[in-house]
């Protein structure tokens, strides 16, 4: 019976029941719902639930080799988030988190664009409460902007789906291209959530404003759902290669100068999505495997890094690089876990990032795409800079800390420990990851050429860092805001709009003022006229003169 329930739906139901469950049983109940939902992983591939409604056949639950790895990792991420937030008593955030994870898992199993749209909006509406739970003015403002952008993405998806149905009579998830108008609508809808260049502002705007635990949940689902959707609908779309390459390279520079370490991680998240998008753009079996593998390991190490910064925020009260440093002494376990996450994302051999990124790099190399290959190679040095070095260095080292702080709570350490274990486990035994990928491809990441080449890149980038610090060339941390693409709608549009509306307001006021003047003029004249003695005899009242004036004006208008 349970096999026909849409995966994730039980988690959403649990979310509604959560307020009725006593506090100490909430996390176990959430874990149980994730466990029950995960039973769907044993169902195999196929279509399990369809629903005919309004003449449309909605495929509510289907699974295949592409949904499978995403479904596994979404369940793992949900478990990590629940353990990490075990100490928290924030009911709203727990409800939002479990419903959000459930919606994302449900979305993976949608078989047509309309079902996908429903889940697409559900992830937006649930996750906005997680941003909201940051519970500061900045968080509330960011949440509203986040909601607007996310819902816009959903609306574009709906428009695309309707056009697709209208023009082709089909609404199932299929491979689309950019020569059709519905293809473009759907592409942009996915592109917003996948944080394409210039559509990425919402990510760095909202994620760092969320709570200690909320950012971990946010980092896992929305963007990777978009990657899944792109991999399903737009594999082999050439423009994605360029879009992805830009995504890997550009956020790197922003991350260098950003002061808030959770925002640095958000830029880094954007850069990681770039690697996945390139893989989709190439569209070969090897590269699509690379995209899925990268999404899989990325969710774990990115969650680990956000968890370590969450722990820092929880204990030290800030994640601003300018106010941190020296925490290694007080938070040794968090430091070690953070470094493991940092080494994984930097793709050191024996860590999970290496075995996933290699697939994408090899498919680029195999296709002879020399320019994109080196853009991504360059971006790898960038990843090492912002996530590999900057995050651990400024939080835990940099300089000695004056005030004491406590190590992270035990539940946080357990969650980070599991994630760190997975990072190393996948790095050492990549075959288990490769087994669940969509295509069967024989691939060996650990060749001597590849290991030496990667190690040379990383080690000499670290030497470059030491060199820059030694000669005081490394930019010091400054309390600041770094402009990003959200500037367009946070500053530029209001900057144009506000004065414009003010001008329009002044103009209408001016027109009214003049009209009033004319009206008074006529009124006075008619008063005078009606009060004069010779007319009094024939015209009975003041009203009549007004009437005549109005008729006269109307006549003028008609004639003109």
């Amino acid at each position: 019976m349970i096999s026909n329930i849409i995966p994730g739906l039980l988690m959403i139901l649990t979310s509604f029941l959560l307020p009725t469950i006593p506090q100490y049983f909430r996390q176990p109940a959430m874990l149980l719902s994730v466990g029950l939902s995960a039973l769907s992983l044993f169902n195999g591939y196929g279509t399990f639930l369809e629903w005919d409604v309004l003449g449309l056949n909605l495929i509510l639950y289907q699974s295949d080799s592409l949904t499978f790895p995403f479904s596994i990792i979404f369940h793992i991420a949900a478990v990590l988030v629940i353990i990490f937030s075990w100490h928290s008593k924030n009911l709203m955030e727990h409800m939002a988190t479990i419903a959000y994870a459930g919606s994302a898992i449900g979305a993976l199993h949608a078989g047509d664009f309309f079902s996908l749209f429903i889940w697409w909006e559900a992830t937006a509406l649930t996750s906005v409460f997680i941003v909201f739970a940051g519970n500061t003015k900045a968080a509330r403002d960011a949440a509203m902007r986040y909601l607007i952008i996310q819902v816009s993405s959903g609306v574009l998806l709906l428009i695309g789906a309707c056009l697709l149905l209208y023009q082709t009579g089909n609404h199932n998830l299929t491979v689309l291209d950019l020569t059709t108008d519905f293809g473009i609508f759907i592409f942009i809808a996915f592109g917003i959530k996948a944080a394409f260049p210039f559509l990425n502002g919402w990510l760095q705007d909202s994620y760092p404003e969320s709570s200690v635990t909320g950012t971990v949940a946010l980092s896992a689902f929305t963007t990777k759902l978009a990657i899944y959707a792109l991999a399903r609908t737009f594999p082999g779309t050439d423009s994605l290669i360029w879009i992805g390459a830009i995504m890997t390279a550009f956020p790197v520079f922003f991350a260098v100068i950003e002061n808030d370490l959770r925002r640095v991680l958000s830029f880094s998240l954007n850069n990681q999505l770039g690697f996945m998008v390139v893989g989709i753009g190439i569209g070969t079996e090897l590269s699509l495997n690379g995209t899925v593998a990268h999404a899989f390991v990325h969710i774990i190490y990115k969650a680990l890094l956000f968890m370590s910064m969450g722990a820092v925020l929880y204990r030290a009260g800030t994640t601003k690089a300018s106010e941190l440093g020296g925490l290694y002494k007080y938070m040794p376990f968090t430091t070690i876990f953070c470094i493991i996450g940092a080494m994984s994302i930097s793709a050191f051999p024996l860590f999970s990032g290496f075995v996933a990124k290699s697939l994408i790099m090899s498919s680029l190399g195999g296709m002879g795409m020399v320019l994109i290959y080196f853009v991504l190679f360059f971006a790898s040095a960038g990843v090492l800079e912002h996530s590999g070095i900057k995050i651990p260095y400024f939080a835990f080292f940099a300089h000695e800390r004056k005030s004491k702080v406590k190590e992270a709570p035990i539940n946080m350490l357990i969650a980070m420990g599991i994630a760190a274990f997975l990072c190393i486990g996948i790095g050492v035994f990549p075959k288990y990851l490769y087994q669940i990928l969509p295509y069967t491809v024989e691939y060996q990441p650990y060749t001597i050429d590849h290991v030496i080449s990667q190690l040379q890149l990383l080690v000499f980038a670290i030497i470059a860092f030491l060199f820059l610090v030694k000669f005081k060339l490394y930019p010091s941390e400054i309390k600041s805001t770094v402009l990003n693409s959200d500037w367009f709608y946070r500053k530029m549009l209001p900057g144009i709009g506000k004065p414009l509306f003010k001008k329009i307001g002044l103009l209408t006021e001016f027109i009214y003022e003049n009209l009033r003047f004319f009206f008074r003029l006529i009124l006075n004249k008619s008063h005078k006229f009606s009060n004069s003695s010779y007319i009094k005899v024939t015209t009975p009242s003041f009203a009549a003169t007004i009437l005549i004036s109005i008729l006269f004006i109307m006549l003028l208008i008609v004639l003109l």
């Binding site: 080690v459 000499f460 490394y474 500053k491």
Partner: protein, 77 residues
């Protein structure tokens, strides 16, 4: 003592990294490193590329501050 902790850690870290870096370069001379592109097979190419990329990223990022950096309360004004 307290103050020396981080400095000594940094010093020994630098030492080990330099040794590893030197070993990696030496290793390059012991075998022919196969790459997808022939120019990447030059001795120490990834090392050079990593070093230059890193310096470029940091220095360009620093320069971009002129255009992209605003006060912390920029959006609240």
């Amino acid at each position: 003592m307290k103050k020396n902790n981080l400095t000594s850690m940094g010093k020994s870290f630098t030492k080990y990294i330099l040794i590893i870096g030197a070993l990696l370069i030496l290793l390059d001379f012991t075998f022919h490193r196969h790459e997808y592109f022939s120019f990447a097979e030059i001795y120490g190419f990834p090392a050079f590329f990593g070093f230059v990329s890193f310096v470029f990223i940091v220095l360009l990022g620093k320069w971009l501050r002129k255009f992209l950096m605003r006060k912390e309360d920029y959006y609240d004004q």
